[in-house]
């Protein structure tokens, strides 16, 4: 026997643990940052945190490499070479802020709309939007328009919220979980935790995705659907369930507008609108009396069946319209099977499974609650079917209606806000009517007349100028896409370059890699950013950009505000913004500088505080004109949004000391958050935990917490009346009329009940010539372009082959190591291919945003990402192919403007291996030194 070495099994772990919030993706998990000698030594999940409960993904654990990345910008930069060259000089903050003020102050005084301020993957939108509002430009949004606005907006309009920040499956009670599309990119750890819970209980999971990787790889059943046909598949499920009467009639009658009466007089300007009483309350037939009653009347029992005839006009409940539509043969499994790529028998089996679990395996919780009609319930009845979807079904030009269809499917099964189903996360649900409407009225030298983004309820809420043209540079809330609740960031540069609807002077962006992976038509965008007019001036005169890292976009700006890393900054994850709550708890969180920056960089929000002061923006200056907030921490602590409500809901000052929800500013608030682990959380009372929109108990609690100022119960909108108002206008009713070229489109797509139509690209691109669908997925271990500079993560995803299904692989005679030329109607790329059998037979795909421009991210020019990595973006245009009508048709959902990334069709052929993936671009000059060749990272001794 050898003598064993003596080991110290209790070595020193760290000097101190500092608890803050992760920013390695948008998930916002709590992290414990272990410090040694003042340096970050190790990062792990915070076990007390509501989002991640102690676990942490690959990105989060690799935060130490991000925080120390060689690509970190070091000081403000002024461009000295041509745009796109990457030639900069470092300047002082005072000079940088003076330049920006000199550009922006005249714009504000004369034409505030000449500033376009778009903030990318911003987690401070309630702050940045306030700044833009103070400036007075209507041109503000974050990145939602090119991400998942279809899911978010369809959720708000239909039921007051969708998934991720808004809601989640009841992981502890669900028995059947159905997942649609790529979901690995949002709500990352909570979904993995949830899948783990399902697996542990032996509950079932169905994955619907053309690609069987990630979560779909562990699904019990995989449905390898044809991209863009999810809506059709869902409506076939609805058809099967309704035909068999397998719907929750009681739930539909009480808690949805299936029971509300619809005007059926084709000659009326009310045709298709809901019947209201004189107070504007939608009307139902009360089963107790057979007479009209308001939907929310005390004790009213809404009838799903009864009709109402008045002055010769018939009014039928919404449910009749649903029966007429969804029982039609066009939604029969046999009718959709071929287009969806799913056998009819399989569709039926899934419908039967949903029905079986929802109704035969119903669960009950012994919790009393009272609905908004005053009816007391002794139990909470649960239908344990739950669903989740995000970008996969959203990022199509039919995505809004597809997301609506998904919400409708959940609702007819009675699974929303019930045990085992889908649950909202406070402060959601909030229906569209509880959100602001969009604002756009520009007055030189003045603040905008209200928040930019909101939810329109009809043509009167569109953002149009007096001549009917779009008021916003991205054409959000115009007839092109009337319900574009998150704006259209992907159209900003294209429209600004085209001067359509007008030209801008300064493009001001934050955390959005628009000259690379965040844009469609990447090389086109590079041209737009660098092109000059007849005078030799840049077509887009000024570009200001803020980023922490040397991203591709840096090279295309004139002035750079270097941001901090996420461990060096203050932030608030606010209930006014995109909260981190869980279904059982309301929560918010902070970031704080667990280390001070060792470079001349500043948190972007603090820079806006100073710039707002210099520009004299309302809300950012005191009465004497001095700067109001010293920095972002000052704003987080002292900003009051409405009486008693600030950015953070925890540890506010009340009459008798600290209190939660409402209260005055508390100078020690951030210290309280830090002492509490970086977050604040308050649990939802047990009897308010389900049925939130309908529950007196929840509504009372929500008012107490400050989510809104009076109880606002509502019913789910299976029939979205605002959409019908747009249709009515397109049919010729009303004074605000769409342009003729959009009339038919609006009539067709703005259907108040969910429909399916083929992706718009299918109408422009020959499906015979371009027979293959091309998609991207986000890897779980990499977030957008950020991960590439990370020495650990790039070892996991340092290159991205195009994955090819067996049928296409064999047809082209591909072999390992081969390259292919992939062509869309817009362009070609030449890239490495790899075989994948677990893939829809007509779909190819790759990982998103792995390919890099040479010279960016402090990588050497021989980096795998810049040679074997590639972007699919080169194949996707922000406009649909010209129709010959001289108009620019956006490659977006015509309802919301959501970028239709996943509509792409391509053809593929074998290619000789090039030196590097094509197209290849010349290297940009790096504003930071390159990273070391080798490293052995250890901060402790």
């Amino acid at each position: 026997m050898n003598k064993q070495p003596v080991l110290d099994t209790s070595p020193h772990v760290s000097d101190e643990v500092r608890k803050t919030t992760c920013y390695m993706c948008a998930c916002r998990c709590g992290i414990n940052v272990h410090m040694k000698d003042g340096k970050v030594a190790y990062i792990e999940g915070n076990k007390d945190h509501p989002v991640n409960q102690g676990v942490l993904c690959a990105k989060g654990s690799a935060g130490i490499m991000q925080h120390n990345a060689p690509s970190r910008l070091r000081a403000p930069l002024k461009r000295v070479g041509p745009r796109g060259s990457g030639e900069f000089e470092e300047i002082s903050w005072d000079e940088a802020l003076t330049i920006a003020t000199d550009w922006l102050a005249p714009l504000r005084a004369e034409a505030p709309e000449k500033l376009a301020f778009f903030t990318g993957r911003d987690q401070s939108q309630s702050f940045t939007s306030l700044w833009a509002q103070g400036f007075g430009t209507p041109n503000y949004a974050a990145h939602g328009g090119f991400c998942s606005v279809n899911m978010a907006a369809a959720g708000i309009y239909t039921m007051g919220g969708a998934f991720w920040e808004f809601g989640q499956p009841d992981w502890d009670n669900t028995k059947l979980f159905m997942l649609f599309g790529v979901a690995e990119d949002h709500d990352s750890n909570p979904i993995k935790i949830g899948i783990g819970k399902i697996k542990k209980r032996g509950a079932r999971m169905i994955g619907v995705n053309p690609i069987r990787t990630g979560y779909n790889a562990v699904a019990d059943d995989w449905v390898g659907i044809t991209p863009g046909t999810d809506g059709l598949f869902i409506l076939a499920l609805v058809h099967c369930l309704m035909k068999a009467g397998r719907v929750d009639l009681d739930y539909l009658a009480r808690f949805t507008n299936a029971s509300v009466l619809v005007n059926e007089d084709p000659k009326s300007d009310q045709f298709g609108l809901l019947l209201n009483d004189k107070d504007g309350n939608p009307q139902v037939i009360d089963r107790r009396t057979g007479k009209l009653a308001p939907w929310n009347g005390k004790g009213v029992e809404p009838d799903l069946s009864g009709t109402y005839r008045h002055k010769g006009v018939t009014h039928r409940p919404v449910f009749h319209h649903m029966a007429d539509r969804y029982l039609a043969d066009e939604y029969a499994p046999e009718a959709v099977a071929e287009r969806c790529g799913i056998p009819a028998e399989r569709i039926r089996a899934i419908a039967a499974d949903l029905a079986r679990v929802a109704f035969d395996e119903a669960i009950e919780l012994d919790r009393e609650w009272t609905d908004f009609r005053g009816v007391k319930h002794t139990k909470m009845v649960g239908r344990p079917v739950s669903m989740h979807a995000m970008r996969g079904i959203s990022a199509h030009s039919n995505g809004f209606q597809t997301c609506r269809a998904l919400h409708m499917l959940q609702i007819i099964l009675g699974t929303v806000e019930v045990p085992g189903g889908m649950r909202f996360k406070p402060p959601y649900p909030k229906p569209a009517t509880a959100h602001p409407k969009p604002h756009y009225n520009v007055q030189p030298g003045q603040a905008l007349d209200g928040p930019h983004l909101g939810y329109p309820h009809g043509p009167n809420d569109l953002c149009l100028r007096d001549d009917g043209t779009p008021a916003r540079i991205d054409k959000a809330y115009s007839w092109d896409n009337p319900m574009s609740a998150h704006g259209l960031m992907h159209m900003v540069i294209s429209n600004a370059y085209a001067g359509d609807p007008y030209k801008v002077d300064t493009l001001f962006m934050y955390m959005a890699n628009m000259s690379w992976n965040s844009s469609m038509n990447t090389s086109g965008v590079m041209n737009m950013l660098t092109d000059t007019d007849e005078n030799g001036d840049y077509v887009i005169p000024h570009i200001i950009y803020s980023d922490a890292y040397s991203s591709e976009m840096v090279a295309y700006a004139d002035l750079i505000f270097p941001d901090t890393t996420y461990l060096e900054r203050h932030d608030c994850i606010s209930l006014l913004d995109r909260p981190i709550c869980e279904a059982d708890a309301v929560a918010d969180a902070i970031r704080w500088p667990v280390v001070e920056p060792d470079r001349d960089v500043r948190g972007f929000q603090s820079v806006l505080c100073e710039l707002g002061g210099r520009l004299g923006l309302p809300g950012f200056v005191n009465e004497d004109g001095s700067q109001k907030y010293a920095d972002y921490a000052d704003y987080i602590t002292n900003h009051i949004r409405r009486p008693g409500i600030g950015p953070l809901a925890g540890f506010r000052m009340g009459e008798n000391g600290l209190q939660d929800g409402r209260g005055d500013a508390n100078a020690g608030q951030l210290d309280s958050y830090i002492a509490n682990g970086g977050f604040w959380m308050e649990h939802v009372p047990d009897n308010a935990a389900y049925y939130k929109p309908f529950s007196e108990e929840y509504q009372t609690w929500a008012v107490k917490m400050g989510f809104y100022d009076s109880p606002q119960p509502y019913i789910f909108q299976l029939y979205v009346e605002p959409m019908r108002r747009f249709q009515l206008a397109a049919e010729g009713h009303g004074t605000r009329q769409p342009p003729d070229h959009l009339r038919e489109q609006i009539k067709r797509v703005m259907d108040p009940l969910p429909i399916w139509y083929a992706a718009l690209e299918d109408g422009h691109v020959d499906p015979v010539e371009y027979p293959i669908h091309a998609l991207t997925q986000r890897p779980m271990a990499m977030y957008h372009s950020w991960g590439t500079q990370n020495a650990w993560l790039r070892q996991i995803h340092g290159a991205n082959p195009l994955y090819v299904p067996t049928k296409v692989w064999e047809a082209n005679g591909f072999e390992d190591g081969d390259w292919a030329r992939v062509t869309s109607t817009h362009g070609s790329i030449t890239v490495p291919v790899a075989h994948q059998a677990s893939l829809n037979e007509n779909t190819v795909w790759t990982w998103n945003a792995i390919g890099k421009r040479k010279g960016a991210w402090a990588l050497a020019e021989d980096a795998s990402e810049a040679n074997k990595g590639f972007l699919l973006n080169h194949l996707i245009h922000e406009l649909l192919p010209p129709k010959g009508d001289g108009l620019r048709w956006s490659n977006s959902d015509p309802i919301t403007g959501q970028a239709a990334w996943f509509d792409l069709r391509v053809k593929i052929e074998k290619s000789a291996p090039p030196d590097a993936s094509q197209p290849a671009f010349p290297a940009i000059k790096s504003p930071v030194p390159k990273g070391p060749t080798n490293q052995a990272w250890k901060v402790g001794k």
Partner: protein, 253 residues
């Protein structure tokens, strides 16, 4: 040559659930982070910001496609690290005694002071679970976080390997596989936990729980009773609806 203990007091190891692992690499990076900062030499990275980067990892996730004859292809995520074998060939092959198996808990470790970086152990390991660090030229391998699991400086709940603590899906379990009553042994018994490549005769302590069967046809009649039609069109549906509503509790008009 180095000898193995004839028996160990405990058989500490991992149970990895292949039915649950989503292949997210959280365990890979958490392991990299902890073990770069802790036990022995840091896990170095070559071409960290250039070329095709390649560094030392103690745990990696591989993905394999499985193509059943009559069902769609499947993708299995397969995390792999040292299995802390009872008959560990990496130990017996070690010329210096640097590789050893601990008598108290069965953890296989490398005493870096005695490691000459000859690589014989990596060659002997049939699982490819050891990596020679290119910077320090010492053999690196999973320590089962021996500097965490007994560490009095950590809260008791954190005394588990970093990969287990961080696994978002809960696919990794840690415990004493020598104790038939332990939670991990129970899990192995319930789920038919398996040895990796048992024919190698290494008697791995770590176990893998196999994926459950997938894409099975429904065990019930799809049409009856779940989808038996009540109507074929809107009109018929309304007729059914009236009856159905009346049948609801308190539903009679």
């Amino acid at each position: 040559m180095t000898t193995l203990p004839t028996s160990t007091d405990k058989k500490l190891g991992l149970v990895i659930d292949l039915d649950t692992c989503v292949g997210c690499h959280a365990c890979v990076v958490s392991c990299k982070g902890w073990n770069t900062e802790n036990y022995g030499a840091p896990l170095s990275d070559q071409n960290a910001y250039s070329g095709a980067a390649s560094g030392t990892f103690l745990n990696r996730v591989h993905s394999y496609e499985v193509q059943p004859a009559d069902k769609p292809a499947q993708l299995i995520h397969f995390p792999k690290s040292c299995l802390h074998c009872e008959d560990a060939p990496c130990v017996t092959v070690c010329p210096t005694g640097a590789s050893y198996k601990r008598t108290e808990d069965g953890i296989v470790l490398v005493n870096e002071k005695d490691c000459i970086g000859c690589g014989l152990c990596a060659w002997a390991c049939p699982y490819g679970a050891r990596e020679l660090d290119a910077e320090e030229k010492v053999m690196k391998k999973c320590t089962l976080c021996v500097d965490r699991i007994y560490n009095n400086n950590l809260p008791e709940e954190d005394r588990q390997p970093a990969c287990v603590r961080t696994c978002p899906a809960g696919a990794r379990h840690f415990g004493d596989l020598g104790d038939p009553d332990s939670a991990v042994s129970q899990l192995v018994a319930e789920r038919g936990g398996m040895d990796l490549m048992p024919e190698q005769g290494t008697k791995p302590v770590n176990k893998y729980l196999p994926p459950r069967p997938k894409d099975a046809a429904p065990e019930f009649d799809v049409l009856a009773p779940y989808l038996e039609p009540v109507a074929t069109d809107g009109k018929g549906f309304v007729g059914w609806l009236d009856k159905a509503l009346s049948a609801l509790p308190g539903g009679a008009k």
